[in-house]
Symmetry: C2
Subunit: 380 residues, 2 copies
């Protein structure tokens, strides 16, 4: 029987038809007024997305490349930094910082939980000389939201501290306005709420961070921010850009700005709430105590292997993600960021009901769907 | 009047329809057997292209990223290396090596010329302790071919020296077989003879080079070869790969392998010869004394600005490249690498004849075309 595969993974996410169309075109050259015009538009639209007049830079790399650029360009070897380490990507900040010789204070947090304000205050009091606080606004591995406004206020109080935020699964999901939140460095990637294939990453940095560009002593070349800043202000890039992705980003940013950033955040909030309430209605337990609106992590029922349940879901047409590292086999992660509407949520919840029953965990068919519908109807 | 724009720039080059079709598709997830299968096929096809059984790694970056990886993973700070610096990309090797603390012997060569064997022997005799020789097999900025076999034999004689070759505009243009030529590290990029959009780069390294992976002391993370080697052998990547480009690469490698690497090299040789002889027939002077088969660099006629001539060519439907740095305004670079056939060459030569006449440099119409045809007809 025909069963169409649907992508509900937290990156890559489905591409809108406008993006697919932009990708499936003959290439244009990048050293042309035509490309420069598109590139300038893209950078201006990214500024609108982040509500800033400051430069937003693009790298031809996955999100990890932009994360690396944040360490390489704004810190020096020996700098003491605090890493909020609450999942696989928190761990990545730690690894990156240590690889390039920073002195990491590792605030390790149980996966699925967020940081404690008291603990952060305590660390900062004992270490007023920290040069940076690294965090994920949305930790994809645990589907957890970490509040960045509080960290922004803490960072601002310190003498010379930058708040460095991985916004890879928060930008385009929330209203992420770095200037308002006191974020000094913000990175994101293309294959999440920007609704593109992977291969493009984005970097914002504050005026305070910009001063560090002169001081940082870590060697860099491909991810050199000063060099890119100069070139990108001219509508070009230091090295050959991922042309087709940039052209497609112009399209996806149009979709996002036409919807409106506030409306886009409200939609994600609604889809996330409907998903969470529906899975709880089915008797399942959420992974996160501070759930992100980008994806919902949920434990497989007692006695059922999460990866087996995922296989059944896939056989029914739904590709969701599992757990990473010690959560492997224990959880499902259902994405709802980017090109998703409420009907998609209803569909995956119905699929989950079918899959749970097929896996031997009996749930009343339609129960989760009804719950999702009740939440949705109040908002449409 | 309708005039269609045709791309004759040395990267990006035109995409074949099979590639465009592969790009214009809904995204698939990378942590799937489906992607792993494609990824393994791509890596095997790259091995066929390079006639090797050794690992060929992919990075989500432009070619410069793979160049950086060659420095970061196989050298240590203080290592003495020889850079054959004969153009913009030779200069890039030098900058990369110096950025990461290598001790560069800069063998600067006039743009458009290749190295002298005697001079290389001399340098190597005075510096038998060099750890690497860096070169472009095809220097795109000067359309110059540098023989790598000789350098391979020189490198092999030394105690612990790696030959590092930028093959960005040679792989897929020539038969590039690193094991046969004694190349230890070879990099290439997607937007040249691989006929893809930019954003993907390729790294080959020899067994001799692999031993350096344990010794190199330069910090790296995004471009970490050991980490990628482990993951890519499993059919995955350390960080999210440029999925759509890899799927498209599978298509373009099919085209290349179906044609045959020898045939592909012969085609490029023919297109290059026809272009060179045609422009000489028109009274123009070649830029390079050792011209590459990827693109032909030619001086604008005395008294005519090269960039003005390019503008006229563009108005007639042909986008060719100009000169970089001190060659700006002096030369044209006409590409014939990747998805080009002899009719394309004939077309651009005819266009050049029209443009030269419009620019005030009188040439007999059809003269260059005839010369190109004479060369082509002997080979078809």
């Amino acid at each position: 029987m025909l069963i169409k595969e649907r992508l509900f993974t937290p990156g890559p996410v489905p591409l809108p038809p406008q993006v697919i169309k932009a990708l499936g075109q003959q290439i244009i050259h990048h050293r042309t007024p035509e490309f420069t015009q598109i590139f300038k538009q893209v950078r201006e639209k990214l500024q609108k997305l982040l509500d800033t007049k400051r430069d937003v830079l693009l790298f031809s790399s996955s999100g990890t490349g932009a994360m690396e650029s944040a360490v390489l360009n704004f810190f020096s070897t020996g700098d003491k930094v605090l890493v909020i380490n609450a999942g696989k990507f928190g761990q990545r900040w730690k690894e990156l910082a240590e690889t390039f010789g920073l002195n990491v204070i590792d605030y390790s947090i149980e996966w699925g939980k967020t940081y404690s304000r008291e603990k952060v205050e305590e660390i900062v009091k004992a270490n007023p000389d920290i040069k940076g606080i690294f965090v994920q606004q949305s930790e994809t591995s645990t589907t957890t939201y970490h509040d960045v406004d509080f960290l922004g206020s803490v960072s601002a109080r310190l003498e010379d501290c930058l708040l460095v935020v991985d916004g890879i699964t928060s930008v385009g999901v929330y209203e992420v306005y770095p200037e308002k939140s006191g974020i000094d460095i913000l990175v994101t990637g293309s294959q999440k709420a920007l609704m593109l294939p992977p291969g493009l990453s984005v970097l914002y940095f504050s005026q305070k961070a910009e001063k560090r560009l002169e001081k940082s002593n870590i060697p860099r070349y491909y991810f050199d921010v000063k060099k890119e800043l100069k070139k990108q202000r001219e509508g070009q890039t230091a090295y050959t850009p991922a042309i087709s992705l940039i052209i497609a980003l112009n399209e996806s940013l149009n979709l996002m700005l036409e919807e409106g950033i506030k409306q886009l955040a409200e939609r994600h909030s609604l889809l996330a709430e409907a998903t969470r309430e529906a899975v709880k209605e089915l008797g399942l337990k959420l992974l996160s105590e501070s759930p992100s609106n980008s994806a919902t992590g949920v434990y497989a029922p007692e006695g059922i292997n999460g990866d087996e349940l995922r296989k059944i879901l896939l056989s029914l047409g739904f590709r969701v993600a599992g757990g990473q590292d010690h959560l492997k086999g224990k959880i499902l992660r259902i994405a709802h960021m980017g090109y998703f509407d409420f009907n998609d949520v209803i569909q995956v919840i119905a699929g989950l009901e079918l899959a749970l029953n097929k896996a031997g965990y009996s749930v009343e068919l339609g129960k989760g769907v009804k719950k999702a519908q009740e939440i949705i109807i109040k908002n449409i």
